[in-house]
């Protein structure tokens, strides 16, 4: 029997070191456990397989640093995963050897997302990143050599000490590599991270000076022919990419409120109005699956109104109109009128869209719009 879920996320928590600003579920080193972990992932996939559709649209290996996983184990995992139209692997630049690139290519990976973050050594230091600017470039070349034609770069802006000129230099350096896709995130001082402890006050202080950075990012990338298709994501326009739609199909799944299955520690799944997060504890995860049972999970039931709200908040991140049929109750109609008057939201035949300014204020606009 098969299900209908067409998006699969697989979490590979291992990292060479922990970056100060990171609040993901990560495990440093532990090479000895990579094998056991991949065994557990395959076992978990077997337990959950029935929810998956016969043909998957996307598989996404995130981390952690998936490419830090022992290559043999990574290969074994990729072979065990069901095929999909898009298979993405996140990679840290310093891990991308010619061998790794070839391995990914051989095992059916179609897209690589590289955590570049910045091209300024001084700023990379602030983030505790191991890779230097040349590692990023080298990784891109190696992936190109292995015939990857869908590479995404992650950039971070708003790093303590990053001036406007630094931002421009980062954007130029990234564009020079002609990635098919770019994700640009404002650095968040997440509570509890070492980074926030060290730089939180500094970030608050410079927040006004960096207010224009988001606008600058959008201006530079759209100017270079990229489509600003989601709040923080850009892809080459089809005209520059032989007509291809280079949006991340996996992430589009989230923003279109599709169901997804997540495997691995700390991974989140949302299926049929239930959301759960698998235990973030590696020991418990390995033990449970070795015993053939499901690891502990934290379950959240999503009642219909919550699901409607989520469809609004996720959908408005995209540059395509949000179809409002069935969402009426999730939207505050007075707020909608107000926001239309302010030129932040437009109602069209296809649904609701944020204007360009509305997108820069997307968080606040959505908060106001939600009933």
């Amino acid at each position: 029997m098969s299900g209908s879920v067409r998006h699969l996320y697989v979490h590979l928590p291992f990292c060479a070191s922990r970056c100060s600003y990171c609040d993901f579920v990560t495990v440093v080193g532990r090479q000895g456990q990579h094998r056991a972990y991949v065994d557990a992932l395959i076992a978990e996939l077997d337990l959950e397989r029935s929810v998956l559709a016969p043909r998957l649209e996307s598989v996404f290996l995130g981390g952690g640093t998936p490419t830090f996983t022992e290559p043999a184990e990574l290969g074994r995992l990729l072979r065990a995963l069901p095929p999909a139209e898009e298979v993405t692997v996140e990679a840290n630049p310093e891990t991308v050897t010619p061998e790794l690139a070839a391995l990914l290519r051989a095992e059916g990976v179609s897209r690589v997302s590289l955590g570049a973050q910045s091209f300024q050594p001084r700023l990379l230091d602030v983030l505790d990143r191991r890779a230097g600017p040349d590692d990023v470039r080298r990784a891109v070349y190696r992936l190109r050599d292995a015939k990857f034609d869908n590479i995404s770069l992650d950039l971070v802006y708003g790093i303590p000490g990053q001036g406007a000129a630094d931002l421009d230099a980062d954007l130029s350096a990234a564009l020079a590599l002609e990635p098919e896709h770019l994700s640009c995130y404002e650095l968040e001082a997440k509570p509890g991270t070492q980074f926030t402890h060290a730089h939180g006050a500094e970030l608050t202080r410079q927040s006004e000076a960096m207010e224009s950075y988001f606008e600058r990012v959008v201006e530079r990338l759209t100017g270079a022919g990229y489509r600003w298709y989601e709040t923080a994501n850009f892809c080459k326009r089809p005209g520059l990419a032989e007509g291809r739609d280079l949006r991340s199909r996996h992430n589009l799944g989230y923003w279109r409120s599709r169901d997804y299955l997540g495997l691995g520690i700390g991974a989140v799944s949302t299926i049929h109005g239930r959301r759960w997060r698998t235990t973030p504890r590696l020991g418990e995860y390995l033990r449970a699956l070795a015993e053939g049972r499901r690891p502990e999970r934290e379950v959240e039931v999503l009642p219909e109104p919550v699901r409607r709200s989520e469809r609004v908040l996720l959908g408005l991140r995209l540059d395509e109109p949000l179809k409002v049929a069935g969402l009426g109750e999730a939207i505050d109609s007075d707020a909608l009128q107000r926001l239309e008057r302010l030129g932040l939201v437009v109602r069209g035949e296809d649904g609701l869209s944020l204007t360009e300014r509305g997108r820069f204020l997307g968080g606040g606009v959505t908060a106001e719009l939600l009933a």
């Binding site: 606008e215 992430n251 989230y254 989140v268 959301r275 989520e310 926001l339 997307g362 968080g363 959505t366």
Partner: protein, 595 residues
């Protein structure tokens, strides 16, 4: 008792100069209370009074000393109750003027001594606390002697704490203070010098019988207000209530009226008998009006009914308290309350918070204004938001301020008074070191932080007292605050034209800090009529996004937006602008304003 053997007196003293201690010693020495009954400071019965060392309600205690009936009338000890003090003094023939021999004469002592002199009272000067090592009885005695025009040798030197010299004080009362000289056969007249409310017996009036006599079960009338009632009981305090057959000319005591509201029997009124009414009331009745106003709002709007009940109850005991419902755009439902002065306001606030367990927001106080509109209408304005815009003339209350400082601080005090639109009246040296200054000032200039400023500029040495002397025309103007072009009534101010720019600027700056940035530029303006005197712009937000949102982030992001939405709901809407309650509080709150 015949009038020759009666002496009625009060004690005038600055806070902490030993009035209550002396009163206690007198009660002990005359065996009015036994040692077992003795509780320190018997006369200050309310909890708050005991804590603050001040007396709110006057009381009268009868003691016996060497064949004489001495009535000690306790006067309220603060500036805000000048009228009550004056009525208490009017009930006496003499007063003990008590000065701390270590501190010397203070402004309040001067003010009350003058009041006593104006009431033709015989003053018995007393230098207290001579047991203190730092006391200088000679210096204090000479200051007091100068003040009241007595010979320094006649100043009694005592220690109320040890009891040293207290018997001599009682002897001096008998010897120096004249007996009452009322007409025992004339129609009955008694001065109401205070009242209190008893939940079972209603209003209890404290009276000094001037002519004739009063008995229980007698129909009486308050001549100024016209209130009629039957005396349920008459008696005196010794120190607790003791009923008696009659209260005769010259005597001091109480009348149980059965009235349910203190406002129906005001201090200063004259009681007479309905059976044989007096032709003329005693002189000096004044309907005391509150001069200082502030909005009182419950911090939690659900507490509004509790606040209303609490004010009703307080009002039973405090005829001077005034209140009316007020609805503020910013603060919701509350009351605009009128007070005799700043201390009165503080006392009411503390009682509401302490006795009624209410959490209150008190707006910065303002004074009462008397306004003549262009249409020729006279209105009294208690709230800047109600100030008419078309004004012909505005009058504001003025005070006479009496300030005593060491001579080195005369400069800073004069400077402060000049800044506050003060008009110098006169200055005199009380001693080589200490100077007494008199100024006339608009009351509005002292309601906010004058006292704090005075203290800080004189390193705490200044003592201050004031008396409201009437209304005078002022060059006053209404300053409105506009947020995105919308006037915000709750933030309107009435200020002197010369200070309008600075106040408007301060207000606008404060609001710019407090109002969060919106989706659009928000101008914040202070304006006089249509003329903008200060302007700031709260720049529109340029970005407000949640950076990442993938499968593992959705729940957290949703909760974040829900929280943001809830935050918006709590905001007050001024036109299209969302203003957090905190922003209003920062500008309106009495405490916030001081920061």
């Amino acid at each position: 008792m015949d009038q020759d053997h009666i002496r009625n007196f009060s004690i005038i003293a600055h806070i902490d100069h030993g009035k209550s201690t002396l009163a206690d010693r007198i009660l002990e020495l005359t065996e009015t209370v036994t040692g077992r009954e003795m509780r320190a400071q018997v006369l200050d019965s309310m909890e708050l009074e005991r804590e603050r060392g001040i007396t709110i309600k006057a009381q009268a205690v009868r003691v016996l000393w060497k064949g004489h009936q001495l009535n000690l009338i306790d006067t309220p000890g603060h500036v805000d109750f000048t009228y009550e003090v004056s009525r208490s003094l009017q009930a006496c023939e003499g007063a003990l003027l008590v000065v701390d021999a270590a501190q010397g004469v203070e402004a309040q002592t001067v003010a009350n001594a003058y009041l006593a002199i104006e009431n033709d009272l015989e003053i018995v000067p007393v230098a207290n606390k001579i047991d203190l090592p730092q006391a200088s009885p000679d210096a204090a005695a000479s200051e007091i002697a100068d003040l009241v025009g007595e010979d320094a040798g006649r100043v009694l030197r005592i220690s109320a704490k040890t009891g040293d010299g207290v018997a001599e004080v009682l002897d001096a009362i008998v010897e120096r203070i004249p007996p009452p000289a009322g007409d025992t056969d004339a129609p009955a007249r008694a001065l109401v010098f205070d009242s209190s409310y008893d939940q079972y017996r209603g209003v209890v009036a404290f009276v000094r019988v001037v002519d004739g006599s009063f008995g229980g079960r007698e129909p009486l009338r308050a001549m100024a207000q016209g209130t009629r009632f039957e005396a349920e009981e008459v008696g005196f305090f010794s120190p607790t209530m003791r009923a008696s057959e009659r209260l005769n000319a010259g005597e001091v005591g109480y009348v149980v009226t059965g009235l349910k509201d203190v406002s129906r029997l005001r201090v200063g009124d004259t009681l007479t008998s309905e059976r044989r009414p007096a032709a003329e009331p005693l002189p000096g009745y004044k309907d005391v009006k509150p001069t200082v106003f502030a909005g009182l709002f419950p911090t939690d709007s659900d507490d509004y009914p509790d606040l209303r009940d609490a004010l009703e109850k307080l009002k039973l005991n405090d005829a001077a308290l005034f209140y009316e419902p007020e609805t503020s755009q910013a603060l919701g439902f509350g009351f605009r309350c009128g007070f005799l002065g700043l201390l009165h306001m503080e006392i009411v606030r503390e009682r509401l918070e302490r006795e009624f367990d209410l959490d209150l927001l008190v707006t910065a106080p303002n004074v009462a204004y008397s306004v003549l509109t262009k249409a020729g209408e006279e209105v009294e304005v208690h709230n800047p938001a109600e100030m008419p815009r078309e004004i012909e003339r505005v009058e504001e209350p003025y005070i006479r301020a009496s300030i005593i400082v060491p001579k080195d601080y005369v400069g800073p005090v004069m400077e402060l008074n000049t800044e506050r639109r003060g008009r110098f009246d006169h200055m005199e040296y009380l001693s080589e070191e200490r100077v007494h200054l008199e100024y006339e000032l608009p009351l509005a200039e002292i309601v906010l932080d004058y006292y704090d400023q005075l203290k800080s500029r004189t390193r705490g040495y200044a003592s201050f007292d004031y008396d409201v002397i009437g209304f005078r025309e002022g060059d006053l103007t209404r300053v409105d605050v506009l947020i995105a072009g919308e006037p915000v009534d709750a933030l309107s101010l009435i200020v002197h034209r010369d200070g309008a720019y600075a106040r408007g600027r301060a207000l606008v700056d404060r609001l710019r800090e407090e109002i969060p940035r919106q989706f659009f530029d928000v101008p914040v303006q202070a304006a006089i009529g249509s003329r903008v005197i200060a302007r700031e712009t709260i720049k529109a937000k340029r970005k407000d996004v949640l950076a990442k949102c993938y499968g593992g982030d959705i729940t957290r992001k949703r909760k974040l937006l829900e929280k943001q939405k809830a935050g918006k709901r709590r905001m007050k809407q001024v036109g299209a602008v969302e203003v957090p309650q905190e922003a209003f509080l920062a500008v309106l709150n009495l405490d916030g304003g001081k920061k």
